[in-house]
Symmetry: C2
Subunit: 324 residues, 2 copies
């Protein structure tokens, strides 16, 4: 059992990362209005959020700019149009996917960029490529994280090797990513234990990015907070791919550091998120996502099921079980 | 950290209680079609559910029968019309509220009734009245539980006294009820610890009934399962007052006892719950319930807010903060 002081008091090392534009962008192809992004930036500032992730630095050679909103590409000038010189305590982050980012060209020196943090997203089998990106970003002056996706499908032996490799790199923070929303709290606690033990040897911080397939995104996040995980991803109203993420409003309702303030989050949700849902943008816990979560599968089949307007859950379940 | 064997193996003492008609009835004034109730009974049978709660034994002197569906009153003949002699492993439960049940008259001998279990619901300050009902039901041959509601507002000193009083009664199982959906997993684990310690001295089982205000109903349920709580309430699709309860589908997806089967649950949800939602019956996690949960308040103001079609969350939040 964790210490009760963790619930009544707070750990100043905890950092809250708003991933609404990035993970939420996967829902609406990154088509957010400028007003939405400006207001989100202001809400994060007033809420005491530590990092705001604007989107991806996706390769413009691989992806057609006319098919996506600008936050899939996060050009420095687009970020600057929102944040100016960002003379604030809120740091700016973007995500760079292994194999889908022209990082040598598209990520310039931090001194010339509004971005503070490069988050490198990778699967367990592409850690060397991730480290190459991390070292590139580090050399350019950025803070870095490495977000290891789909961890519920990774073997623990591989994970330990990966964590030692990353421990020897320049990365600052290593993330547990439960891409499939498949972990139960006891399991994520064990995973966090492995992370904290190895990362601790190298002086690295640990983060968590959860998905809500089994309504456990918030529960899993606060489970590992109690164990020493300090970087916490959340999104407003949980907006994110499929069933979405840990909700910012739940997280700030839980954290006791007086620097955090839930009121601007409530304001933003009232003004923007309700409208987004009315416009037909769909995310959040629903039955098909639960099934892929329980079965530890990528949610793409559930997303397709929802898009097709299907409600034949029994047929869908049988399709999911047929995995030979 | 709990033992990994709890996740891979199972504890045969665990009992799953379907509370859909009872807590769900609070959403639609207990107006379920006979077909719904029949199919739910069959689904529970096939899913391996241990108890099915049909509703309340509410006083017909206090409540007008014309204002509610029949499951608010759970006459024995109405239950029998669904279950016949119920020669099955699925036991039948009803809830009896302290102060709102004419138990001496309305609860007849078990030998003449289809009911197996009387669940006595009480607040912490009416334990003696609850015990009077428990002893009455026990003398008539029933299994009994005592469900202590609104525990997040009870002082631990009072709780310990209450548990010792109940320990000395004939009750079989004592329930942790998180009426306001306000407990975090660490807190519910501590509460469960107190329950298990005192109830263990008297040979009583412990149960949990959770609400989903902070999307923690399932998480809190499986948190305490790991500690030895054996009676687990759940409802199909989480149907229950306000934000609802621990979802049956999530719970059966988690439990490893091969006697449980999620498929009939999926079938029932596909056939009935989707339709219920389309007909305009509203329950499940939503923002206003989260706010009452965080603030440890009764959800009635959130339910009213939703009924009035309000979306001014900031005003609502300020109303909730004004509690002098």
């Amino acid at each position: 059992m964790k210490e009760i002081s963790n619930l009544m008091n707070f750990r100043p090392q905890i950092k809250v990362v708003d991933a609404t534009l990035r993970d939420g962008g996967l829902v609406n192809d990154f088509y957010f209005s400028d007003k939405f992004v400006q207001d989100l930036y202001l809400a994060n500032l007033r809420a005491g959020v530590d990092y705001m992730e604007f989107g991806y630095k996706a390769s413009r050679e691989m992806f057609d700019e006319s098919q996506f909103g600008k936050w899939k590409f996060c050009k420095d000038e687009d970020i600057r149009a929102i944040v100016g010189d960002n003379n604030t305590d809120l740091k700016i982050a973007v995500m760079a996917d292994v194999g889908r980012c022209d990082y040598k060209k598209d990520i310039i020196d931090r001194a010339d960029s509004p971005i503070d943090l490069i988050r490198v997203a990778t699967y367990i089998n592409t850690i060397p490529a991730a480290i190459d990106m991390i070292e590139d970003a580090h050399a350019k002056g950025y803070e870095t994280t490495c977000n290891i996706m789909a961890l519920s499908n990774a073997r623990e032996q591989d994970l330990e090797v990966a964590l030692h490799l990353l421990g020897q790199s320049s990365v600052d923070t290593i993330y547990i990513v439960d891409s499939y929303g498949s972990f139960y709290p006891e399991q994520i606690a064990r995973t966090a234990h492995t992370f904290l033990e190895i990362c601790g040897q190298y002086g690295k911080e640990v983060g968590i990015h959860a998905h809500n397939n089994q309504q456990l995104a918030f529960a899993n996040t606060i489970e590992v907070v109690g164990d020493g995980v300090n970087f916490l991803d959340a999104t407003y109203n949980g907006m994110g791919r499929g069933c979405g993420n840990c909700m910012m409003e739940l997280l700030l309702g839980f954290l006791k550091n007086p620097k955090y303030n839930i009121y601007p989050v409530i304001q933003f949700i009232e003004k923007h998120m309700t409208k987004l849902k009315e416009e037909g943008v769909i995310w959040g816990y629903d039955f098909p996502y639960m099934l892929t979560g329980i079965l530890n599968q990528h949610p793409r089949s559930a997303i397709q099921f929802m898009k097709n307007g299907r409600t034949d859950y029994t047929e869908f379940y049988k399709e999911l079980l047929d995995r030979d």
